[in-house]
């Protein structure tokens, strides 16, 4: 039964797609987060490849290949490069003003770590740029929120699914859930690179929703969106290194200093 097999494969890929988003919430090491994102790119390409669109199969396959190359290959590569640049880059601004600020921040974090030392956590080493140290919402609560957001996505998508129930539209809530989780990552994570991943999760979710709802997107539309995302990531990468140079860290809370008061 190719129909059932096809449906099961699609469900599997969508499950992987959602799971990758949840894994992003779960992990702390930025390099692992990027890896999880690459996995999600593969899953998204799989979704595109598995759809049986109205128009030519080859165009959809081309779109799938393009998505795979961009989201599982190029974007993670760019992010990894930015990560190494930030983590191993030269000390910011010759270590004067910015270095002093980051030093005092490190001191205060170390102090709080010292107080919490009895519980076995060592926050002092978390100050490194390669980790998402202290998300605004901790990991357990994040995972719980992801579950709630997924529920919400399923509840919202019910009428949409009821319009035309096929295997593809039944998987539609997954796309919505990834959109919400991506937004959640944006709201709660502090590191600039984690923000970039959150933004890309959001975009992945939108793309998946478009695929699942419309059974495929024309090549030209997908090309436009992809170039947009690529540009955004390039700009954000530059922004990240600049932040590191200006503030001595990539915590976006430092941007508060830019507010005009």
């Amino acid at each position: 039964m190719p129909g059932t097999l096809h449906a099961q494969l699609l469900d599997l890929v969508c499950g992987a797609f959602l799971l990758a988003a949840v894994v992003v919430l779960w992990l702390r090491q930025l390099a692992s987060i990027v890896r999880a994102f690459a996995l999600q790119g593969v899953a998204l390409a799989g979704i595109a490849a598995l759809l049986d669109g109205h128009d030519s199969r080859w165009e959809l396959l081309a779109v799938a290949v393009g998505i795979g190359l961009l989201r599982a290959g190029l974007l993670p590569l760019l992010m990894r490069r930015a990560l190494t640049a930030v983590a191993t880059g030269p000390a910011p601004l010759a270590g004067d003003a910015g270095g002093g600020a980051s030093g005092s921040e490190a001191g205060s974090t170390a102090g709080s770590g010292g107080r919490a030392g009895g519980t076995g956590h060592h926050y002092a080493e978390d100050v490194s740029e390669a980790r998402e140290t202290q998300p605004l919402v901790n990991v357990a609560a994040s995972l719980l929120s992801a579950a709630l957001l997924t529920l919400l996505a399923y509840a919202v998508a019910r009428p949409l699914v009821a319009l035309h129930p096929t295997p593809a539209t039944r998987a539609l809530p997954v796309g919505l859930a990834v959109v919400l989780i991506g937004f959640f990552v944006l709201v709660t994570r502090r590191r600039a690179l984690a923000q970039v991943v959150g933004f890309l999760l959001l975009d992945n979710g939108i793309t998946a929703t478009a695929f699942l709802a419309a059974s495929g997107v024309p090549l030209i539309v997908e090309l436009g969106v992809s170039f947009d995302v690529l540009l955004a990531v390039l700009v954000l990468g530059i922004l990240t290194t600049r932040m590191r140079a200006a503030f001595g860290g990539t915590g976006i809370d430092d941007l508060r200093e830019l507010c005009d008061r």
Binding site: L136, F183, V187, T188, I252, D253, R256
Partner: protein, 682 residues
């Protein structure tokens, strides 16, 4: 294709040519070319409007212009009347504008932008009444607002800093209020079109009868507020006395006549034609607004010392009178009195025509004075009659019209309005019996005050002695300016002496609203006959009689004077020495008695400071007098509103702390809340 179609095409073509010339040509050729093209646009509009008033009809559908709906145009007699008025004003004002902008560039009127936009503004003035669908109407309406805003801002980079600041403030007020009005109009017409099931006026007409009364009421209130704001009706007027004085004078003349008229056009089109009349409370609201505008506008005009501000407030008054007519017409139609309803509407329309003629002439004359002296403050003018005799003559002619006294052209509209209100008392119903007498009283009051206002404007500006160097050195304006004013003056005189030529056109316009079951008035070359009331007025005979009386009186005085011996002697000066310019009435002192009478209404701020001489407290060294008559509506209504909005703006800054997470959180919470609402919906 009919005459109207050809004329409309000609108007569009010449406006486009004018805009191109204005944008491309340098210096003086630019002003001339743009002015000539604008005048041609006006002439084409006048031709189209006249043809429509004679019974021609035209409609067009241009699907390619504004996709996906396309542009619908249709001209009936009502549209024709407003097109003819706009065209009739645009033609002479454009001629005037050539002379006005050419020599004196102090107001930025000759700038590239102003000259390119002027023909487009004129074109939108002509085309707004021809729009026959919601989308085309809104498009043209908005174009009209934008082009006029650009023209108001023409002077924002020339002149002293205080003048520039005034121009910017005027532009801001005008821009904000006109956009808010557009918002109301958009909401009202969108609701109407959505519920009536179509956006062409034909579809609206058909669908209006099946709408629930609450929807009809909402549509009327929203659109009427927008149109009243455009007409400068009183609580919504503050833009008018700011924008009209600051605009270059030929633009003020257009804005204060053709543009504000379109507010009344919109009200009549929606209220009578599209919605086909409505319940009593609609029209009571219109009537009350009109009465308030008439009384308050003319009071503020009486207090104003700035000549163009005075004229702007007088516009508010005259449009208020037209609103009284429209409101009364609706009231009568609702109570079943078809004849007085048609008459009241005809009176309102006639008053608009007359107002357009004399107000454009007044603004042009004020512009001529401004051009010659650089002054708008009446208190510093004086003695201009001998230096600018032609301008003075034109101003006097227009002021006679504005004072609503025979044989001026403003008289006929107000007389007709009073006739319709007085005869409207025969319409059964308690409300008419209660409302009409105060309305008559308001019209009488405003007519009386208008006489005082224009005596003040004419007397203080043009008579007595010059009160300053600039007034003393004034020189008469160039021929193009005088030619434009001459055309307007001829228009005023024609309207005053042979208004009968308008009679049939007015009847056709009223019939186009679906109000009349017969022509309310018939005209002839010699007079106006009110068919239903068996009343006739022949202004030409009245004018002849008045002129004959004047000539006889003058001749008798001459004859009597010749009998007596004349000796030349110095004027008796009460022993105070030769009279100086400071002894003459100023605008402020002339208005002072009125200010006392209406002290409670106007709440003027007055400050008298007496400085005594050091030797004795009884010897006065100097007296400083300062008076300001603030606009009370602005004070009581707008200032608290603006303060509240400002406070809200300051308070909302606390929402933006600079934390990116917070900003993202707003979006996230909003999205989740929206989704929850969607999910919870059954």
């Amino acid at each position: 294709m009919s005459v109207i179609g050809h004329a409309t095409e000609a108007a569009v073509a010449s406006a486009a040519a004018g805009a191109l010339c204005g944008a491309a040509l340098p210096g003086r050729p630019r002003v001339v070319a743009s002015g000539v093209c604008t005048a041609a646009t006006g002439a084409a509009g006048l031709a189209a409007g006249t043809a429509a008033l004679r019974g021609a009809r035209w409609s067009a559908f241009l699907p390619g212009v504004l996709p996906p709906t396309g542009v619908h145009l249709a001209v009936d007699a009502l549209s024709g009347l407003f097109m003819a008025v706009a065209g009739g004003v645009i033609l002479p004002v454009a001629v005037y504008g050539i002379g006005y902008a050419a020599g004196h560039t102090g107001h930025g009127a000759a700038s590239r932008t102003a000259q390119a936009v002027l023909p487009l503004f004129a074109l939108t003035l002509l085309l707004v009444p021809a729009a026959a669908s919601v989308c085309s109407f809104l498009l043209l309406w908005e174009l009209m607002a934008l082009t006029s805003l650009l023209l108001v801002l023409a002077g924002h980079r020339s002149g002293p800093p205080a003048a520039r600041a005034a121009v910017r403030a005027a532009g801001l007020w005008y821009g904000v209020m006109t956009q808010l009005g557009f918002l109301l109009l958009l909401a009202g017409t969108a609701l109407f079109a959505a519920r009536a099931g179509g956006e062409t006026f034909t579809a609206l007409r058909d669908g209006a009868h099946h709408l629930p009364s609450a929807v009809r009421g909402t549509v009327f209130v929203l659109t009427a507020a927008a149109f009243a704001a455009k007409a400068g009706a009183v609580p919504l007027h503050p833009w008018l006395p700011r924008a009209h004085p600051e605009a270059p004078s030929h633009v003020s003349a257009l804005m204060s006549t053709a543009m504000v008229n379109l507010g009344i056009y919109g009200l009549v089109r929606t209220g009578f034609d599209l919605l086909d009349g409505g319940p009593r409370w609609w029209w009571l609201g219109v009537l009350a607004t009109g009465a308030l505008s008439a009384a308050y506008g003319i009071l503020q005009a009486a207090m104003a010392s700035d000549l163009k501000r005075l004229l702007a407030y007088s516009t508010s008054e005259n449009l208020g009178l037209a609103l009284i007519g429209v409101g009364a017409a609706g009231l009568f139609a609702d109570a079943g009195g078809g004849a007085p309803a048609a008459l009241a509407l005809a009176a309102a329309l006639l008053h608009l025509v007359n107002h357009a003629a004399f107000k454009s002439l007044l603004f042009c004359a004020a512009g001529s004075v401004l051009r010659a002296t650089g002054l708008r403050d009446l208190d510093r003018m004086g003695g201009l009659r001998s230096r600018m005799p032609v301008t003075a003559g034109f101003f006097a002619l227009a002021a006679l019209g504005a004072a609503a006294l025979p044989p001026g052209n403003g008289f006929l509209g107000e007389w007709l309005l009073l006739q319709s209100l007085i005869h409207g008392l025969a319409v059964p119903g308690l409300v008419t019996a209660l409302v009409l007498p105060p309305a008559v009283a308001v019209i009488a009051l405003s007519a009386g005050l208008a006489a005082a206002v224009f005596v003040k404007a004419l007397g203080v500006a043009f008579f007595a002695r010059p009160r300053g160097r600039r007034a003393a050195e004034a020189r008469e304006s160039p021929p193009a300016v005088l030619a434009g004013m001459g055309l307007l003056a001829a228009l005023c005189a024609a309207l005053a002496l042979v208004p009968g030529v308008l009679g049939d056109g007015l009847s056709a316009a009223v019939a186009a609203t679906g109000l009349a079951d017969g022509p309310p008035l018939t005209g002839g070359p010699l007079g106006v006959r009110l068919d239903r009331l068996a009343t006739t007025l022949s202004p030409l005979w009245a004018a002849c009689a008045l002129t004959a009386c004047l000539i006889t009186a003058a001749a008798l005085a001459r004859l009597l004077a010749r009998r007596r011996r004349r000796g030349n002697a110095r004027l008796w000066d009460c022993g105070g020495g030769a009279p100086t310019a400071r002894m003459a009435y100023t605008a402020t002192s002339f208005a002072e008695p009125l200010q006392r009478v209406f002290d409670r209404v106007l709440a003027p701020e007055q400050d008298v400071r007496v400085t005594a001489a050091p030797e004795s407290a009884y010897l006065v060294e100097r007296v400083r007098f300062r008076r300001r008559v603030p606009d009370r509506f602005e004070h009581r209504l707008y200032r608290p509103l603006l303060e509240a909005v400002t406070a809200l703006g300051h308070a909302s800054r606390r929402l933006a702390t600079g934390s990116v997470h917070l900003y993202l959180g707003y979006g996230f919470c909003g999205l989740v809340a929206l989704l929850l609402v969607l999910a919870a919906r059954p």
